[in-house]
Amino acid sequence: MSKRLAIISVHGSMDLAYPPLILATAAVAMDMEAAIFFTFYGLEIIRKGNADKLQVSPVGNPAMPQPIPGISVPNILGVLPGMTAVATGMMNSWMGKAKVAKLSELLEMAREMDVRMIACQMSMDVLGVKKEDLIDGIEVGGAASFLEYASNDAIALSF
């Protein structure tokens, strides 16, 4: 039975930041080990003070529930100025109602539970992110760091 969960986190939108953190913390709670490799926009999740500011994009997301029930808003309107903020506000309100933990809380849990969090060095160079821009407890590494971890019989997922 696999005892390791290896996750690649590529995206910096709120909805895609949740699954890696939820699964990694739950894995440790289930006596597994977990690591998350943050690459490209995934770095935004671990940028200091940024986790709770991540947004949801309505563009290209036809599955997003409509703001006004019964009135269908064409997806193209998602490109209008302010629509990302509207979608994010809606999502935050639903998250609050469903009592979902904030991303900052899940990050704190992940750190407390020794989830290995690895920031991709190459992405940091590309995006001009420095180690001190990231929250504490993050290692910096490359593809080999992730693969060495994942090759040891891990379940590997990408978000």
Partner: protein, 78 residues
């Protein structure tokens, strides 16, 4: 249901994965043989606590639902 327990954990109004994370922490704090009573309102906590016990080898002694409140009695088996 009257199951005797050693510690109680309130996970009401918490959503996945918090009830499981807190349960893990609480059970780790028990001595082997002691029982945790955990109360949650997340309906997903029912399959998740069962799955958690299966995976970790801890023992779900009993559980019940009453008006949307789920109560679990988990014994630290190892």
């Amino acid at each position: 249901m009257s199951v005797s327990f050693d510690q109680e954990l309130d996970c009401k109004n918490l959503s996945c994965p918090m009830p499981i994370l807190k349960t893990k922490k609480a059970v780790d704090g028990l001595a082997v043989g002691q029982v945790l009573k955990m109360v949650a309102t997340d309906p997903g906590s029912l399959p998740d606590v069962v799955a958690w016990c299966n995976k970790t080898g801890q023992e779900l002694l009993a559980h019940e639902e009453d008006g949307g409140v789920f109560t679990f009695y988990i014994k630290r088996a190892k």
